[in-house]
């Protein structure tokens, strides 16, 4: 027998009250844990996915939408831009590198992105198997896509038009898997990469026929399927083609000032900076996060009050017990410690349960949302800040036990024992 065991016995002697308080505290702490995890991983992921991209150029519209669609592949693209105008940009001396991208197709919700080899290069992606695409309709799968679809190198599938599941299928040409990327925990995991040309030719099936003469079309198609695609820079084409977005790297800091203005006022395109738009987004989300944090603090406060009341009430019933403990040799200090231990054990259980609950909440959220950005979060990563949650919880426990503990300290044994 020791004080720990005695405190524990008292806690388990009142399972309902103890359980309620632990659960309430755990709930508050779980909310904080989830927020902490999401904030940490989300920001990290957002920054990681946007690393190396200084500017995104696309059709006019919402700049935030452009960033979400072009960098994170979560929103709808703003529209298309003419390729000759994009090519003009690449001759600008402020531009170090441009990655042209064509978006707009999906396979079972996973987006098919047409780009050159610089795009996986941007994320330093490594191949798990196979090679990068060199011919039209060759695709490289992100790790997540490969897992979910079960496709290996050599398999073929049909893409669908649009970026959400259930649109009509492009049934004329099958995509052929030539490589699978290693899992890196970034946006590439959820993407199907191919050449810009592949995206163009897929869309030619349905759209080009009325305008082009049939013979012409057939001819150019045959030629293209044999050809290699552009692995650097812009795809080569004689026709006037369209792109969806351009990812730009600046040559020097000066570009950050001049280039966006140049594009926004001098062309029919718009330029948006990922870091600026994301900080704007976090600002918007910040209100919601603050609100949730406030709610969590209120719940923790209530649970603290609950623990205080539980300890205080049980103290009234236990004045005899405390007096007896003194009579069999316990010192005042030991009784003080006994009550503090109860509060601390209670809140420690709350903290551990809260953190586990938080991680469980997050894994549930993630499993409900597999293809979104949230889907690539890791629910079982533990952060250093979670230790602080434990510290906060223990602080709540100590605070809630102060008054009851002091009351226990001051209990007069003689009075207590002779009252009855």
């Amino acid at each position: 027998m020791n004080l720990f065991k005695l405190s524990w016995k008292y806690l388990t002697f009142r399972p309902l009250s103890t359980g309620l308080n632990v659960f309430l505290l755990a709930l508050g702490l779980a909310i904080i844990t989830v927020l902490l995890l999401i904030q940490d991983q989300f920001e990290k992921k957002m920054n990681q996915d946007a690393a190396g991209i200084d500017l995104v150029v696309g059709a006019k519209g919402s700049p935030l939408q452009l960033i979400l669609a072009g960098v994170y592949h979560i929103d709808f693209p703003t529209g298309n831009i003419p390729m000759d105008e994009a090519q003009k940009l690449s001759r600008n001396r402020l531009v170090k590198n441009i990655i042209p991208m064509a978006l707009g197709d999906n396979y079972q919700g996973f987006r098919i992105v047409g780009a050159n080899h610089d795009y996986p290069g941007l994320y330093e992606a490594k191949l798990n198997s196979g090679a990068l695409w060199v011919k039209p309709f060759e695709v490289v799968l992100g790790a997540e896509v490969a897992d979910k679809s079960g496709y290996q190198v050599g398999d073929e599938f049909l893409g669908s038009h649009g970026i959400s599941v259930g649109s009509h299928e492009h049934d004329a040409n099958k995509f052929k898997v030539v490589g699978v990327l290693e899992r890196k925990g970034n946006v590439l995991d959820r993407l199907i990469l191919t050449s810009v040309e592949s995206i163009w030719y897929t869309h030619d099936e349905g759209e080009a026929e009325p305008t082009d003469s049939t013979s012409n079309h057939e001819e150019h198609h045959m030629v293209n399927l044999q050809d290699s695609v552009a692995v650097k820079g812009f795809p080569k084409t004689a026709e006037s083609r369209e792109l969806t977005t351009l990812l730009i790297q600046y040559r020097n800091p000066m570009a950050a000032i001049q280039l966006p203005r140049l594009i926004n006022s001098g062309t029919s395109m718009q330029a948006a900076s990922p870091s600026f738009e994301m900080s704007r987004l976090f600002e918007l989300l910040g209100v919601g996060i603050t609100l949730l944090q406030g709610l969590a603090v209120v719940i923790i406060g209530i649970s603290g009050l609950g623990i205080f009341i539980a300890l205080y009430n049980s103290l009234k019933e236990r004045k005899y017990d405390l007096a007896i403990l003194r009579a069999i040799g316990a010192s005042r200090g030991q009784l003080l410690l006994l009550i503090f231990l109860e509060g601390i054990m209670l809140t420690f259980m709350g903290a551990v349960l809260g953190i586990l609950l938080g991680h469980t909440f997050l894994s549930v959220i993630i499993s409900q949302n597999e293809q979104g950005v949230v889907g690539s979060l890791q629910p079982w990563i533990f952060l250093k800040q979670e230790l602080w949650i434990v510290v906060y919880a223990l602080a709540v426990g100590v605070l809630a036990s102060i008054i009851p503990a002091v009351a226990a300290y001051q209990t007069s044994i003689a009075k207590q024992l002779t009252k009855a």
């Binding site: 027998m1 016995k9 017990d321 007896i324 009579a327 002779t418």
Partner: protein
Amino acid sequence: MMLFESKNLTYSHPGQLPLSFPDISLQQGESMLVLGKSGSGKTTLLNLLAGLLQPKSGEVILSGKNMAAMNGQQLDLFRGKEIGIVFQKPHLLAALNVTENLQMAHFFSKKEGQDIDKLLTELGLGEKAKSSVLTLSEGEAQRVSIARALANSPKLILADEPTSSLDDENTEKVIQLLKTQAAKIGAALIIVTHDQRVKMHIPNFVEVKAV
């Protein structure tokens, strides 16, 4: 030298006249009753003898140590080690089972004390060792509280009206237990009571009179 002595004890409750108590001295294995009417200060005397109250003047000496001169923590530990107290009501810790209740006495007094299982068996409680104290009858509970008082093999056993809520049969049992156990461990036994049934068993007594 006497095992236990109290000399010239006085105590004053706030706002009341000071009480003075008869001197008590006991040898190993001796027992004594403290008699007196309700409100005469019997229980106050018991609290003084147990070191639960500090006397206004006088000395309480147990095996050569003056308890009146000890301070808080020292006194608590000394009480835990050397004095076993049986209260009017059993006051067992409801959150613990019978054995655990007795283990607490060992823990707080930092003393090995008697073997708990053996003690419980001697007191006819062997089968109740793992029972919740809430399932005990009044008599059983009082015997457990006696076992708790004996657990540390104290030099002095104090009992405050231990039989007031028991029937004749249990009273008989409790008094015999206290006497035989005190004799066995060589402790002095003081019982505060106004119960006539107890007087038949212990002839030796002092009387506390209100001033």
